[in-house]
Point group: C2
Chain length 604, copies 2
């Protein structure tokens, strides 16, 4: 950081070699101690902390000023660096061998009493932290998270630059997109009654850039999605968005490997093993019951249907068929009590299973289980073999439709086996996604946006439920970091996909006719990806939710406790935009106000 | 650019050293010529153009395919690089010494007939270019502009990184800000009837970051302003936004000098002379009649009031006083006809002058002018001396209120003297802006946002019209590139400024009480700046307007001819947001539709 007149060096960068130097520091009073009239300050700034010693007798600063110093006063100190006296070093601080003897102290700004202490060890309610985010940021955790985010984005840009990508800004006031229902809208003042939409992603614009001959595009793009806030979503979020022409899937995955390596090295100093693991969607669902498998541990789902092909146990026999069967996982040495095991059963039921069979391998090799008595010896042996069961292992078995079992055992696997935190990083690509998600009732819904290359068009048309698209995800420790696909570059294929997806030609034309027009002018084959930066950095920083690495996030109700957004606005402004609040909403306001008034009346 | 299976090298990077190499190219057919059955293609991709020779007899591609090739077909060519035969080099192309003998040609995508030719020499209507922006981008001008924009932003980031700035993303769904009336609004779905605003700048958030201890912040920030589109504005625009703590004005200006140097070197390979020129607002107004002087030429405004202190010429004598006087510029050797000179007079009147006196210095040193006969010899000599008039020079003199004269002569100076284009770059800082703009009727309006440090608070309170704030602009060739200021960090000063600006304490509290609260917790002194990237790059690229360097701009009516935004949206969507279109707007729609129907009826 360049020096300024007001501050010649950062507190945290001082080292033994600076001993004897006169320095001008500026920062905040992290701690103040008074030892027999001599004041010790822990002075904190963006670079770290250093101890400052102020003796009212040696310093022109008046005793009154020094004794008036409080936490988080913003101060400037001119002083001399010296080694700390023997035996007083602080090994927890990089500057712990030295201190600054202050000769002059200026209070640049006093601080009001704090709503919470700026101290890692103090637990503060999140809504309080968000309301005073600027104070929360002075704490090491948030300060380090902001730095990590900046560094991660810097690392991504380096890869993009090295690979010859052009950074292009796509517009954020756009026309409503295919997934229009969740678009956030912006009323236009120049054309009252008309609206822009905020982008859910730069998808169509980056495809236009490919049509425009850009060949390599990237952008750190702000995107918007107006949906109910799930635990770990924000209405505005940031993604690294990139696209390349004359590219297939492997070209994208190689770029991703470079990005992942660079970011992990930057943030954690670790080397990522390349190539990353790659598995098909079908394999991920089979083995882990999910398309975002956590590969840090085994406990894979194994198919036991063969073992029970002739079973007389009705609960199992009844499900065997085209989409049904028996599957199990080996939960390892869980040593659960009977009630612990029952807890797993009810968890499975909550997840949609009709039931769950547990078995524990006894010392003598027998399987203890409520259903053991209904199973043949061959079946019991078969279970042990398929699940590689050893003494003390707990086996969990479910029999149902494949989708239900996958969901249930996949989640139980995580409940039981998923490591705390993210010390280990297990990346993987999941490829060959289906074109359609098949619901339990057999109905089809598109698994990706309709610009995804559907692979074999004949299969798509004749057996859409079997069609495999050129779509791929990047997964880390059980979370989806991002997704991408090879895109459709042939307008005839695009028309066919719309048709199969049930989007009429007329509908397609009215919703994105302009894009279909663009496809007609020599569109290159192209492919791309988008990585969610918030999620990626939060995992690397081992934070439990993305709000921790967003400087000013919204709460789960979409509110900002700091600024009070969203809020009501001027009537005049609405009038200029040609819009009005609906009467039923206004009526609710009146009710709320009446109620508030009523409450007030009771209090007085 | 990394190679891919589909394309091993860029067309434009081929050089003599590649002779003999087998290459796989992919790009677009820029031109196709047929010479006795042999086809010559100019193959264009993001890296440039190379000539490809295809002989149907040697190539497995069928004659039909080759002869079917049309402009902008997207093709892949596998072939061998060879030097061109003697005498057939094309010196206009970096690849002009060689050609690629195609052995295989794949048409990746055909192109429909083009709405306009992809050719620099063809002039295309801007609305057509915007409607087919993806084709416009294939033209060298736009392709180079996009690259320049990406490079300029890259250069800015390099400076920020070197100087230890943290890249921080501030939210774009915020609460309505001080300049609220122009905020673009986003209705909230979770809180129907409530609105977010899009930021006009990250001003308050970057100040919060300073309070949060970030010390060095930057962001390439998308900002929004919903105002009538002037010639060179967009509702969404991009700025490099930065802020530093423990900073004064000079710290900001030094960073700006590094940014400007890096960007100009990157885009034009030129060194910028540092330090940049610096002048006060008062000096700029005096000498150039504007706060964004074009310093590429002299022709400064000179004060002639002294010359006329005892004049008997009533038009001049009448204006001499506190705010009035006589000023002139030397327009140089304009050689204008009488009607040309009269044109300047009416231009001056259009600009608000009561009149304009012109004088031409004759061979014999006398001044030819309609008013010469009313002036004394001393006055005529005085004019010549003050304006350094030489033979053939045209002098322009105006007598009026200082503000009027400044505006008139400042603009005439530009009309007459401003160079075409931007071959020369004249940067300058303008500093010491007044806190208030004083209108001709003497009324005061804040010249900057209310968080600008007002300098001496006593002056502010007692003589607000004289108060000079710590605000500064960066100017290039007569355009304002950006502005910044030292901010207020003392809540008492902030309150005082609100008061003087006529913002009541209650109003201030309701509009940004959360920010006033933040100021109370040890706010560091801080200062910052924002550079308009669109404007800066457009000047460096010598483009007449910022739309030329924005990938997908809006027209002057805020519309996007490509996607059709803004547009009407679903009634259901509006209902979910708790808003409705006003009846009068709907009524207008019905009228428009009736009219359209009526027109249709006449046509049938």
């Amino acid at each position: 950081m360049a020096a300024s007149l007001m501050k010649t060096i950062g507190a945290g960068v001082l080292r033994a070699e600076h001993a004897g130097d006169t320095v001008t520091l500026a920062g905040w009073v992290a701690r103040r101690r008074d030892h027999g009239g001599v004041i010790f300050i822990d002075l904190r700034d963006a670079s770290g902390i250093v101890q400052v010693v102020l003796n009212p007798e040696d310093s022109p600063a008046s005793e009154e000023v020094l004794h008036g110093l409080r936490s988080e006063y913003c101060v400037q100190v001119i002083g001399t660096v010296r080694p700390r006296p023997d035996g007083t070093s602080n090994e927890d601080l990089p500057t712990g061998d030295l201190e600054v003897v202050g000769e002059l102290l200026n209070v640049l700004s006093p601080s009001a009493p704090l709503p919470f202490q700026i101290d890692e060890r103090v637990d503060v309610d999140e809504s309080k932290r968000l309301e005073f985010r600027y104070l929360d940021m002075r704490r090491t955790r948030m300060a380090e998270n902001l730095k990590a985010r900046s560094k991660a984005i810097g690392a991504m840009r380096r890869v993009m630059d090295r690979d010859g990508f052009l950074e292009v800004e796509t517009p954020t006031l756009i026309a409503s997109t295919p997934e229009g229902a969740r678009d956030m809208l912006v009323p236009s003042r120049l054309r009252p009654g008309n609206f822009y939409a905020l982008p859910q992603s730069p998808q169509l614009f980056k495809q236009l850039l490919m049509i425009g001959g850009v060949e390599r595009y990237y952008q750190v793009a702000k995107c918007y999605r107006d949906e109910d806030f799930r635990a770990d979503r924000q209405i505005e979020f940031t993604q690294l968005d990139f696209e390349g022409s004359f590219w297939g899937q492997d070209d994208v995955l190689e770029v991703l490997e470079r990005i992942v390596s660079e970011v992990v090295m930057e943030l954690r100093g670790e080397t990522v093993e390349i190539p990353l693991r790659k598995m098909t969607y079908a394999e991920a669902m089979d083995r882990f019951g999910t398309d975002k498998p956590d590969l840090r541990f085994g406990m894979e789902i194994a198919n036991l249907s063969e073992v029970f092909s002739d079973t007389e146990f009705k609960a199992f026999a009844g499900v065997l068929g085209a989409d049904g069967g028996v599957w199990g996982i080996n939960g390892g040495k869980l040593s659960l009590s009977r009630s612990g095991l029952d807890g797993l059963v009810s968890r499975a039921q909550d997840l949609g299973a009709k039931g769950l069979v547990w078995m524990v391998v006894e010392e003598d090799g027998t399987l203890r289980s409520p259903v053991a008595k209904f199973l043949s010896d061959e079946e019991l042996e078969g279970i042990k073999t398929v699940l590689c069961a050893g003494t003390g292992d707990t086996l969990l078995i479910a029999a149902d439709d494949v989708r239900v079992v996958g969901k249930v055992l996949g989640q139980l696997r995580l409940d039981i086996g998923q490591p705390d935190g993210n010390d280990e990083l297990a990346f993987a690509f999941v490829v060959d996604f289906p074109v359609f998600d098949v619901a339990e009732d057999g109905s089809l819904s598109p698994a990706h946006h309709p610009f995804t290359n559907p692979g074999d068009v004949d299969v798509l048309v004749n057996s859409p439920e079997k069609a495999v698209s050129k779509a791929y995800d990047l997964v880390l420790n059980g979370s989806e970091l991002g997704s991408g696909s090879v895109r459709i570059h042939d307008p005839d294929v695009q028309a066919k996909v719309f048709e199969v997806m049930g989007i009429s030609a007329q509908d397609a034309e009215s919703r994105f006719g302009w894009f279909l027009e663009a496809l007609r002018y020599g569109t290159p084959p192209h492919a791309g990806f988008a990585i969610g930066i918030d999620r990626f950095v939060s995992i690397l920083r081992d934070e439990p939710n993305i709000r921790e690495i967003i400087p000013f996030p919204k709460t789960q109700t979409g509110a900002d406790p700091l600024t009070g957004s969203p809020s009501r606005v001027d009537e005049e402004q609405l009038s200029e935009l040609g819009i009005d609040i609906r009467p039923e909403v206004r009526a609710r306001w009146v009710e709320e106000e009446d109620r508030a008034d009523g409450e007030g009346a009771v209090e007085t």
